[in-house]
Symmetry: D2
Subunit: 275 residues, 4 copies
């Protein structure tokens, strides 16, 4: 099990969401409530988009997030209008930087919570589908990174929802051919520097939790006394595995088998159908 968070909106210091809320992502590294495990101590990562480059920065470490001083330093000094963060609980693969999320390819970032069931039985067959030109960019050994490279192979850069639907379809077909009942369990966040897509799906229809924050204008009316809400831009949106602060009306579950798009204009929510 893992936890992740995506933010899009007016530039804020990373630590506003990673540290400074009651049940912040870093707090969840030690005390997650909604997951199978309470501890997500097998590494972490944060990827952020900035002003100086189209390519996002990625800071990843194998140490538990709760005590990592460099993460605290970076988070309290770096502002970003769009970032993804992830805390990891390994399901068996090695604890190493190249297995930490977010994964990056060009301007794309990718985080995953969940697993490919019986991954060793399908890994090779899935790896063969990865485009030849992409294959050697795979650096780690996780299912999560392989899902990313499959999605890239299947068109992520042109049609993110379609590519993820094709990727999941492929994983399910491959798994079922091996007699695996429920091949995939996932929430996925991906971004290209402008938009964020968030997916919630599992073969068994009981997906890991995923929430998106209520429209900021609505929240401001509900909570006129909260200074942070007054400062947040209208477009600000948080997507997160489990709420980072208790606030009635602030969090909405991403429905089963659906995906959301956070973008300029009106955010969207659609059904997700593996192909």
């Amino acid at each position: 099990m893992c936890r992740w968070l995506a933010y899009s909106g007016s530039p804020i210091l990373l630590d506003e969401l990673l540290y400074k809320t009651d049940h912040s992502l870093i707090d969840q590294s030690l005390h997650a409530r909604l997951g199978v495990e309470t501890t997500n101590g097998d590494g972490f990562g944060v990827g952020w988009y900035g002003a100086t480059s189209e390519t996002p920065a990625v800071f990843r470490s194998i140490e538990p997030a709760w005590n990592d001083r460099n993460l605290r330093e970076v988070a309290s000094h770096v502002e970003s209008p769009l970032f993804l963060a992830h805390i990891r609980a390994s399901t068996g693969t090695a604890v190493q930087q190249t297995n930490c999320h977010p994964f990056r390819f060009g301007k794309w970032l990718w985080v995953h919570n969940g697993l490919v069931r019986e991954f060793p039985r399908v890994k090779r067959e899935l790896a063969l589908v990865v485009d030849e030109s992409l294959y050697t960019d795979i650096e780690g050994s996780t299912d999560s990174e392989l899902l990313f490279y499959l999605a890239l192979t299947l068109g992520l850069e042109d049609d993110p929802p379609g590519a993820v639907e094709r990727m999941v379809g492929l994983v399910e077909e491959t798994g079922r051919r091996q007699g695996i009942e429920h091949p995939i369990q996932m929430t996925i966040g991906t971004a290209d520097g402008t938009n964020v897509w968030a997916f919630r799906y599992s073969s068994e229809g009981k997906s890991r939790s995923l929430y998106y924050s209520t429209n900021v204008r609505t929240l401001r009316e509900m909570y006129p006394e909260r200074p942070r809400l007054q400062e947040a831009s209208d477009e600000s949106r948080i997507i997160v595995s489990e709420p980072i602060v208790e606030l009635a009306g602030a969090w909405n579950e991403v429905p089963e088998s659906s995906y959301g798009l956070v973008c300029e204009g009106v955010d969207q929510l659609h059904p997700f159908r593996p192909r």
Copy 2:
């Protein structure tokens, strides 16, 4: 909060106690039951005495014990008749090897669970008591290591119980002079390669948990069907912050304000009185 374990007896592979029991020390790094925190993920260490040298080996790391591959390798290939292991939950000081237990001086090892309350207020005064010749051997920044060097200064090598009683007396006197109500909370394990001493004490009289295993001959009679007990030598003894296996009659609480000595001959239990 931390957890520790000491073993003395016929040589066994370290992993027999670190990994292979239901609620082994490594399991306690992720799922402690009796402590304030369930997670002890801020580093670990194991010190063992061997055949080739009077000086024990010390292996320490800042990674969580539960996923450390090197610990698993060493533990499954190294046998020892006397070892101390520790998993750490930092109470604020840096996560670094030199803050991990066991601490070593010559042939001595030292592990500690607990804290010196308001340590920053008394640290300098206590550090000045450390013998000049020992002062520069202090490498870390913890209260635990300083307690060790104070005990060494106050005669640990000649009279361990007396030195620890004088050390605690000094800490309590120093703390109270600063208006600190309950200056110290501790369970401590120390060894010289032949004997193990285990102390349980706190200024408030509510000390962290500490257990010692029942005499092996008695356990064998109680559980004739357990092969591991049949293999264990008569002299084998485990001291541990919380039981590593559920077995009725196998664990005995070290009483409040007392210390035990595991040695050749009859093990002993005595009252502990700070001087």
Copy 3:
């Protein structure tokens, strides 16, 4: 032996100086030319001042700088008008984050190349001079950090040159009382977010190398074809243990027993006299 670099001027990406010159600081971690050792692989650190906080960020790691991916990520995405970076070659003390430079106190940063000779013999006596309120902030075990806290005790925040002169005077007096012929060898860089001070001194009068860059206006006239020089602000100044690029006329040795001040207005160079 270590290497360090300080930059003050118009905001630039850290990697401009850490990576993108022929003999950049990171290149010096593997291939230093002017030092006693060619390898500075025992950790590194960079501290930078930014827009969001008076307190500088400090990113430190025990891994060799040449292969650290997080350093590369941060350096290629963070801009700063004032930063200090350091690569370490341990002279014996532990390789741990708290022994990596820069050290920070409030808005102050501190880097050091050199050593206190026979440090174990004078450490305790020097540590006792550190102000009581500062003592517990010492987290590591190096001479360099202790020099910083001595300078803070002796007035660094009010009169940096005077405080460093008093600190060196104290170290020399203490060392000589112990029969140590040449107690200190140092180049030191320190900054408060506005100014940078750089010191070069050693008891034996043969100090480690230290250079400052030539005035940018002069360099632009000398090298009109160099685009980076055209972009650099008039006030930009680099101070560094060894030149990061070969360019005739670009580097000037800080004279023996002297210190420089980089500030708004005219930079200064003064003699350094331990008190």
Copy 4:
């Protein structure tokens, strides 16, 4: 470039060869003489066979060997009759434990110095040859580990020299089909707990250095005053990338395109011919 060492003989403490000779393997991590680079600071590993298990222990770390305290502790307390050690200089792949040598499969260990040229261009094609049942055991991203799994696929456990010859033949054929002139450069050491095989080969016929020690009986006669030689068993043999001590007559170059077998009875040297 990397450096490695293999020992077979009477049980000795690992540190006898890793630390206690003039130009020990650990010294070579900072000061290699015969290699392309003087620094081998991108991690290390040691694998040893012991008494308690057929499976060797493997201790690997991403820190430079020269300052790793745990390696020093383990090496000074563990005795073994057969061990392989390796210090790494990355040729581009990530610095992570799973990229450190020795690699292990069952009772087999594997170390490599050299590279597969233009590895990204042939990696996928070579990976497809790895037996399906072995594919998911690949944890890292190096050419060295892939060579090991290719050799295992091609019969390493039954016929080590034949399997390595077939593996090299495959790599050369694959590389040449891609227009790569000299596809492979290697010295390789592998062991099964009883025997050690050492290979020296490169497509261009200019292989990295590799030496084996002279027969101990001969050395004893040459150097009757050397106590360590008197203690060493007749069967003791060292194979190493570069000599760990200067001693006339003690080291013999493994010839180009050949391999050696260290075993009970008479050690052997044979030509190596890729198939």
